[in-house]
């Protein structure tokens, strides 16, 4: 068995606001092994980014409350002091942010920003750091890296900025790379390049990747395991093929059904999930998806636990319906029928 790098157990993150406690993450658990890609899928407000940022201690604040455990190689990130955290962050775990336009500093050159990451964590002189920065830029496929290293972010295109961000994240050869919607701001052709790049670099650097996205299509090709989040909870967790070919939670069906797909004949109407995601302050009692679920019944007012219900071990879901019912009920939704009965 490969080395287990990250182990998150029953993580809860709450933010105190004027309107009340926002339960952004409400009991999330997963593990990540070296060499694997974990996909976290969900809509905005599902808590996927907060989960990722908590792994790096980026959500720490006096108004934030944490529960549970986030173990990185056996050490709890939640209880580390700032010094220890600094050692880990950027060095052993690093993050690629969503928007390459705003997450690079416009007044420093690309090279200076990569060198900074190197020099914070290692005793490297200026020239060594610069040479490393050029090598990294070459590795992520920036042409003329020798001269490009002295460019400012505004001289780079969107795709190149995202490559530069990846170079920066890889600067210290991290064990865990967290990519938070790395391709959302990019064109499809560039998206394909970036996803391939992340997949290739994972093997080269022998690291593990957490790929956060709202697009199931993006993770289909590269993820080993997928976690589907809804309203701060994991509603389904399974190996990639299991999730796509035997999805158990009605929310996952809805996500799969509402994508206009190129690999199928065109439909007259698209399936859509009714309503909008619930407020995280006053979440509905019981199953959080109940108000939008076409299959909800009496028992759904009780919260279903996340557990293994199908034959395949390791495939967990949070739905009261029996496996047979699910397999019957999901078909029209998966086929993209407009209204599931």
């Amino acid at each position: 068995m490969a080395e287990r790098l990250i182990e998150v157990t029953d993580l809860k993150v709450q933010f105190a606001t004027e309107d009340g406690m926002v339960k952004a993450v409400d009991g999330v658990s997963f593990e990540l092994e070296r060499g694997k890609v974990l996909g976290i899928v969900g809509e905005s407000g599902s808590g996927k980014s907060v989960t990722a940022m908590t792994l790096l201690g980026l959500t720490r604040d006096q108004n934030t409350r944490f529960e549970g455990e986030v173990l990185y190689k056996g050490r709890d990130v939640l209880t580390m002091d700032e010094g220890e955290l600094q050692e880990v962050r950027g060095n052993e775990m690093s993050m690629i942010f969503q928007d390459p336009m705003t997450s690079l500093n416009p007044v420093y050159t690309i090279g200076a920003q990569i060198c900074e990451a190197i020099q914070v964590h290692e005793r490297a002189d200026k020239n060594t750091a610069r040479r490393r920065a050029i090598d990294l830029l070459k590795q992520v496929g920036i042409p003329n890296a020798d001269s490009r290293v002295d460019n400012y972010p505004h001289e780079f295109s969107g795709g190149m900025r995202q490559r530069a961000m990846i170079a920066m994240a890889l600067a210290c050869n991290p064990d865990v790379l967290i990519a938070d919607e790395p391709t959302t701001a990019l064109d499809v052709t560039i998206q394909a390049q970036i996803i391939e790049l992340i997949d290739r670099l994972k093997d080269e650097f022998n690291s593990a990747v957490i790929l956060i996205t709202h697009d199931l299509g993006v993770v289909a090709d590269v993820a080993d395991e997928i976690v589907v989040m809804y309203a701060g909870r994991v509603v389904e967790r399974a190996h990639t093929r299991q999730l796509f070919y035997d999805p158990q939670h009605p929310y996952t069906w809805g996500l799969l059904g509402s994508i206009p797909r190129l690999d199928r004949p065109k439909q007259e109407r698209l399936h859509s999930i009714k309503g909008t995601p619930p407020s995280l302050i006053n979440a509905p009692a019981g199953c959080k998806f109940r108000p939008r679920c076409p299959h909800a019944f009496a028992k759904c007012t009780e919260e279903p636990p996340l557990e293994n219900r199908v034959e395949e071990p390791g495939h967990l879901d949070r739905c009261w319906l029996s496996v047979e019912e699910k397999r019957r009920l999901r078909e029209p939704t998966l086929a993209g029928a407009e209204e599931a009965a």
Binding site: S44, L270, T276
Partner: protein, 368 residues
């Protein structure tokens, strides 16, 4: 959305439209270069039809959309709306036409004034066009219902709504004056998947109900396929392919279209693994100095010498499928012969002749 497109009178005709943005330098503001945002684009949109406009960012699709509704003045060429050339009209002459064509914007957060109430956001176009105050309120409430919001939302502010609801407000505003043409610029790209499909269904319903004509600008080929009757593909300011929707997906002619299609993620792991994926190298070149000949040639895997020198004209390959390419894909010998006779242009090779120079499933370049 349906086959109403056939036989309809063209509502909008775009004829050789160019839009250049000058780049000025120095104290005197001399023009040193120009961004060729839209470069000689021609097509027509019939009444009741949905034309999808796709391409990567920077290809000029939004500029073209804005030029059509005359938020921008074309540098050259004509935009003809209902038989009338509107490309040179001044602001006053345009005002009555603004009723006829409206726009839905991409970002539901930036396109609504945060200090105005919903009622006044949707009511402003009515006010400008002289609808009496008493009627306005009723009309706005009707519109709110049409787009799936509740009339009680009249007095709320934009921040009280979610992204999807805001986009509905944007739609209601666009529909306030009963336009004929709606240009939707990436109306769903800022929305979540589950909300996106609600929005697409709504736009579909509204088109049927109000017999609207859409120009639907998007970069997501899945979404475009779902809504469009015909699709125009743009690359660096040029129209490179124009085709009935299904035909474009079944047999793309332009290699750029082929690459775009293959880059769309498919939510099916086995299929995604099995299919040939063409990863385009590099970025879109600068529209200030577009490449010579075919603008796509530096990234094209079928590229030969002719592509560097001669710009391929837009050629009709039959059944309304037009493309501009020296090495057309998915075209049989017969069609190719016909095209060769009718035009001075001679495409280089037929289906079996066009061979990729580089393999399809290409990984990112190895480390040197």
């Amino acid at each position: 959305m349906s086959e109403r497109s056939n036989g309809g009178e063209p509502l909008v005709e775009v004829k050789h439209v160019k839009k250049y943005f000058p780049i000025r330098k120095g104290v005197l503001g001399r023009e040193v270069a120009a961004v060729h945002a839209v470069d000689d684009v021609t097509f027509a949109v019939s009444e009741g039809e949905t034309l999808g406009l796709v391409g990567e960012s920077g290809c000029g699709k939004s500029t073209l959309g804005r030029t059509i509704v005359r938020l921008l003045e074309p540098t050259d060429g004509n935009v003809v709306f209902e038989g009338r050339d509107i490309s040179k009209l001044g602001a006053r002459a345009l005002r009555p036409l603004r009723r006829e064509m409206q726009m839905i914007f991409q970002d539901p957060y930036a396109s609504l004034n945060p200090r105005q109430r919903v009622g006044s956001i949707i009511g402003t176009p009515l006010k400008i066009h002289g609808v009496a105050k008493s009627e306005r309120r009723q009309r706005v409430q009707e519109l709110l219902e049409t787009v799936g919001l509740s009339p009680e939302h009249y007095n709320r502010f934009p921040h009280e709504f979610s992204g999807g609801q805001r986009q509905r407000i944007g739609v209601a505003r666009a529909l306030a004056l009963n336009p004929k043409l709606v240009v939707a610029d990436e109306p769903v790209s800022a929305l979540d998947v589950s909300i996106q499909s609600q929005m697409l269904n709504l736009l579909d319903d509204l088109q049927k109900e109000l017999s609207l004509t859409y120009i639907f600008i998007a970069h997501d080929l899945g979404v475009v396929r779902h809504v469009s009757d015909r699709i125009a593909v743009m690359y660096l300011g040029k129209l490179v392919e124009l085709s009935p929707a299904e035909d474009l997906y079944q047999r793309p002619i332009m290699p750029y279209t082929e690459a775009l299609l293959s880059a769309v993620p498919i939510p099916d792991p086995d299929l995604a693994h099995a299919r040939e994926r063409i990863v385009l190298q590099g970025d879109v070149p600068s529209p200030i100095n577009p490449p010579s000949g075919c603008r796509f040639h530096p990234r094209c895997r079928y590229m030969t010498d002719i592509c560097k020198e001669v710009e391929p004209p837009l050629v009709d390959y039959g059944r309304g499928h037009l493309a501009a390419c020296h090495h057309p894909l998915n075209v049989d010998r017969e069609t190719l012969e016909r095209v060769r006779v009718s035009k001075s242009h001679t495409p280089g090779s037929a289906d079996e002749g066009a061979k990729p120079r580089k393999p399809g499933k290409e990984r990112a370049r190895p480390i040197p």
